[in-house]
Symmetry: C2
Subunit: 155 residues, 2 copies
C-alpha cells in the first residue's frame, strides 16, 4: 500500500529512535533503502530495492541492502513476504494488517482484509489450545483480464 509523505517522515523518526536505542546510526544508505520501501508501496525483493536505490546512490552495495532490511525487520518496521518463488519480498509494516492475492499470470500482488477470516483463524487455533503469533494467507489467482500482461514466467 502506498503511504503518505507525513507517514514516511514519522516512520523515519521511528527508525532513527530504534537505531539510537541500539547505539546505531541513520546513514544515507539506510534512509534511502527504508524510504524506497515506504514510498514504493509494493512488495519488492532485495534485488528490486538495490536497483531502485542505486538510482539515488550509485555505489550502494547488495550487502548494505540486505543488512538494512534485516535491521528493519528486526525492529518491526518492515515485514517479509514469500510468495513461493524463492525470493523474499519486503513491505512496510505501517498500516493495517492485510493478506495477499497474487496473480499467477502477471505476478501482481493485491491486498485484502477480511475480519471474519481473521476471527475464524483465531477460533481454530484456540480450539486446539494454541495462540496465534502471526499468520500468512495468500490466495493465488488468475486475473484473466485484458490488462494482465502475463509476461513473466508463471509461478
Amino acid at each position: 500500500m502506498a503511504i503518505s509523505e507525513s507517514l514516511v517522515k514519522k516512520q523515519l523518526v521511528r527508525f532513527q529512535d530504534e537505531l539510537f536505542d541500539r547505539g546505531l546510526r541513520l546513514t544515507k544508505q539506510r534512509e534511502s533503502i527504508f524510504c524506497m520501501v515506504l514510498r514504493s508501496g509494493d512488495h519488492l525483493s532485495a534485488e528490486d530495492l538495490h536497483r531502485k536505490v542505486r538510482d539515488e546512490n550509485r555505489s550502494i552495495g547488495f550487502a548494505t541492502v540486505y543488512r538494512t532490511l534485516r535491521l528493519l525487520v528486526d525492529v518491526n518496521l518492515v515485514e517479509v513476504r514469500q510468495f513461493g518463488d524463492g525470493v523474499q519480498r519486503y513491505e512496510s509494516a505501517a498500516g493495517d494488517h492485510h493478506d495477499h492475492m497474487v496473480c499467477l499470470d502477471c505476478r501482481k500482488v493485491f491486498e485484502f482484509e477480511n475480519d471474519e477470516i481473521e476471527r475464524l483463524q483465531h477460533q481454530v487455533a484456540e480450539g486446539q489450545g494454541f495462540e496465534i503469533a502471526r499468520h500468512r494467507l495468500d490466495l493465488y489467482v488468475r486475473c484473466r483480464r485484458a490488462n494482465c500482461p502475463n509476461i513473466r514466467k508463471p509461478l
Copy 2:
C-alpha cells in the same frame, strides 16, 4: 497425514501411470522416495527424505531426490510447502485439502480444515473478479505445552 497401505499402493499405480504417459520409468529410487513421502505422513525436506531413503538404498543421490520430487509435484501427486525457514517441504497430495498450523517453538506442524474459511476466501476473490487457483494459509503459533521440546532455533 499418515496414509493406509492400500492407498500407498493406489498412489504408486497412479505414479506409474503418469510416468508411462510420459515415456518414463518407475525405478527403485523413484518408488522409494515416493513411498517415503506417503508413509511418513510428515512435512519432510529434501534433506530429510534423502537421509531416510538412504537407509533403504545406500547410494541414492541428492539430485535423484530433487528430480523425483519435482516430477511428483509436476504430476500433482505431491505438494510443496514452505514455512518460512527457506526450506521446501513435501507432502502427499492424496487426502483432503487442509491448512497448516506451525509451532514457532518446536516447529511441529499440525493440520486443520475449516470450510467456512475456504468459503470466505472464494467470496473475497470472486468479489474482486478473480478465480482462486490455489491458496496457502499458515498459522504460526506457540503451543506453550509441557510436551513442546522447543529445542530447535525458533523460526
